[in-house]
């Protein structure tokens, strides 16, 4: 089963490079995404066997992150069909400076998307920290061409920043891997392998100073990729310049993968009795991230960048939740699910808005409800979901985390957390509501035809799912989330 999960996207990627017919390639793309999510669905009922001496195995955290990735990718593949169709007809003129550009060939774009899915799948199933590193770096390389889909100078700049900053970050995580290998080496007898299960089992034999140093490098290295402030500088550029479908995947799936890598090292530190050290670092980075994001959302004039900074905020909340631990770990895991669904939805809708208005400046977008009604409604619903209004899922997960903070008498952190969330709520409501309401500017033709099933159904379904998770968490998911929370030191 695990080989199938990895091979399906790889084979489909290879095929999509060969196939010459656009429609056939799109059918292949969607069916590969369908097969992948089908396999993931089966993995919930029967745990797949470990392969390669336990190097590749689906444990509870892996399965959770794999499922999020797979569902989001399925939604994205469906959205992509409509998007690529639209792009084909679209005049390739830059709306900011009027220059002409071309797109990356569709075959390469789809192949890179599928390769991206394959590498993320390897991240979620790998139990060996070295292999995990290799897969993480591979995600960077698979996504670089995706950001450069519209071949103009701004996307090129974003691609360069992304490639260089993330590669350097991941290189630092490699140093963390070597430090961990030092921590696991013994002067006499067998060294501990870098397999997660071995490291956890022999946690108390690891060399503490080197282990701590290793965690620091992991946090800085993978934290760069995850978008924890102040290491997030690539993130707003990459998210605002890439096509919306890529932004959705970067935000909802890739950042999670980097988070999973940090969770793995946190698991090792907890096993070695050093969870206090790693938790306090996670809390510090988490707080910095939400505060930093709040400051930049406050004066934001570009709605895609606003969504990108919102991702920085939510990654901060995740780090904070895991750091606080206890019941907050459960809240953080629920938050991973809800954030991915909501952010995917918002980026898809942002894509619709961009297609209709041809601007990313939020002040030039007015009256979405009048021009593209379905997207307008989804935009408002997405706003309610992302800022954590009940009854959406994010409300429940943010509330769980805040409650756990009070229960553990971490009142200072809780107050800072709630104050920043309130600030973000205020600044976001100004942007979102102004965009949705009002009178549409002159020159925007009524585009009733531009809303199709392809660009409305995926965000709508994602939104409905996060709404359901706010009202009712199915028992199987509840069990799974508790299991993951237990694995990372909570309950």
């Amino acid at each position: 089963m695990i080989p199938a999960l990895i091979l399906v996207p790889i084979v489909a990627a290879a095929l999509s490079l060969i196939i010459r017919h656009d429609n056939l390639r799109r059918v292949l793309f969607v069916s590969a995404a369908l097969t992948h999510s089908g396999l993931t669905f089966v993995a919930w009922s029967c745990t797949p066997e470990a392969i390669l001496n336990g190097w590749l195995m689906l444990d509870a955290p892996g399965l959770l992150f794999l499922s999020i990735t797979s569902v989001l990718f399925l939604a994205a593949s469906f959205y992509a069909v409509g998007y690529l169709n639209f792009e084909k007809k679209q005049e390739k003129q830059d709306f900011e400076d009027g220059s002409f550009f071309t797109n990356t060939p569709e075959a390469i774009f789809i192949a890179c998307l599928l390769a991206f899915l394959a590498t993320m799948t390897i991240v979620t199933v790998s139990q060996h920290l070295g292999l995990l590193w290799v897969a993480m770096e591979a995600t960077t390389l698979a996504t670089a061409p995706l950001i450069y889909f519209h071949r103009h100078h701004r996307s090129l700049e974003a691609t360069w920043k992304y490639l260089l900053i993330c590669s350097v970050g991941i290189a630092i995580a490699l140093l963390g891997n070597f430090f961990l290998a030092v921590a696991a080496s013994k002067t006499g007898g067998q060294d501990t392998r870098l397999l997660l299960s071995d490291l956890i089992q022999q946690g108390n034999t690891l060399n503490v100073p080197w282990l701590r140093a290793a965690f620091l490098f992991f946090l800085v290295g993978y934290g760069t990729k995850m978008g924890l402030a102040p290491l997030h500088t690539w993130l707003p550029d990459a998210h605002s310049e890439s096509p919306s479908i890529v932004s959705a995947l970067l935000s909802g799936a890739l950042l999670n993968c980097a988070f999973l890598a940090i969770l793995r090292s946190h698991q090792v530190l907890s096993a070695a009795g050093q969870s206090e050290f790693s938790s306090s670092l996670l809390i510090v980075f988490g707080l910095i991230s939400i505060i930093w994001a709040a400051v930049f959302i406050l004066g934001q004039t570009d709605y895609k960048r606003m969504l990108a900074y919102s991702s920085v905020e939510h990654m901060g909340i995740l780090a904070l939740g895991v750091g606080v631990s206890g019941a907050a770990a459960f809240g953080a895991m629920l938050h991973v699910v809800n954030h991915s669904l909501t952010k995917g939805m918002l980026f898809f809708v942002a894509g619709n808005i961009l297609a209709a208005y041809k601007t990313k400046a939020s002040k030039d977008v007015r009256g979405i409800i009048g021009i593209i009604p379905a997207s307008g409604v989804l935009w408002l619903a997405g706003f309610a979901a992302i800022v954590g209004l009940p009854p959406f899922g994010i409300f429940l997960s943010e509330f769980t985390i805040a409650k756990a903070m009070f229960e553990q008498h971490r009142t200072g952190i809780a107050i800072a957390y709630l104050a920043v969330l309130a600030l973000i709520f205020i600044s976001m409501s100004r942007i979102f509501l102004n965009m949705a309401q009002g009178k549409a500017p002159q020159g925007i033709p009524a585009q009733a035809g531009s809303e199709t099933i392809f660009n409305i159904l995926p965000p709508a379904l994602l939104g409905v799912t996060t709404l359901i998770f706010g009202l009712y968490i199915p028992p199987f998911m509840n069990t799974a989330l508790h299991e993951v929370a237990k694995a990372i030191g909570g309950f």
Binding site: H128, P145, H152, L156, W160, V168, F178, A181, A184, T187
Partner: protein, 214 residues
């Protein structure tokens, strides 16, 4: 044996110092290539000339990649660059060269503070690895040209690799090859992006890539 390891370490330090002071992009590429070849020999020297097919192949892969493929790739990317072939530092060569030995001293001190818990091949390896990493990071942040940033990335990777060599046997082959492959593809993709930057802007100065703000 210790002698030859130390010789290699000294060579690495000298090459790093050279990179800090060099102005010509072409020469920089050649120095980085020489550094790659030196590193490729390192695993063979560490294991004291005992013939091991796995180790030999690994060495050959590194020499081939860092000594031949990367320089060719980067020279290709540089071929069409119209701008002057100078690295154009933000921080002058003089200051860079002075900063070098200072950083080396800090790394030596750091190396003495963090003793390795295993039998170490040479006490020089740790400080030199750290110094190479620092030089790599310095080259990335202090040079304007996209190409010199890639060179900085390779130097950074060389430093990490030097450290990894201490643990040569601790990493499974699959992971080692995966790391090499990733680095190869990374430099390859960076080369392509530089090619595009050059075509789009007629220059590869990253400080002029500044239309995206906050």
């Amino acid at each position: 044996m210790d002698n030859s390891i130390d010789t290699i370490m000294v060579l690495l330090v000298l090459m790093n110092l050279m990179l800090l002071g060099l102005s010509s992009l072409g020469t920089c590429i050649r120095v980085v290539a020489a550094q790659g070849i030196t590193l490729g020999i390192l695993p063979l020297v560490i294991h004291g000339g005992i013939f091991d097919i796995r180790l030999t192949l690994f060495s050959a892969a590194i020499v081939g990649l860092k000594g031949i493929v990367f320089p060719l790739l980067l020279s290709w990317a540089m071929r069409d660059v119209n701008a002057q072939r100078e690295v154009e530092p933000f921080i002058g060569y003089g200051k860079s060269v002075i900063a070098g030995p200072l950083a080396l001293a800090v790394c030596m001190w750091l190396g003495s503070r963090l003793p390795l818990p295993l039998d170490i091949v040479s006490p020089m390896v740790m400080p030199v690895a750290f110094f190479t990493i620092m030089c790599g990071l310095f080259l990335i942040v202090s040079r304007k040209k996209a190409l010199s940033q890639v060179l900085g990335y390779i130097v950074l990777e060389n430093g990490i690799y030097t450290f990894g060599m201490v643990l040569a046997e601790k990493q499974p082959l699959l992971v080692e090859l995966g790391i090499l492959l990733d680095v190869f593809v990374a430099v390859f993709v960076m080369g392509i992006v530089i090619f595009h930057i050059n075509r789009e802007f007629d220059h590869i100065d990253t400080d002029r890539l500044s239309s995206l703000r906050s």
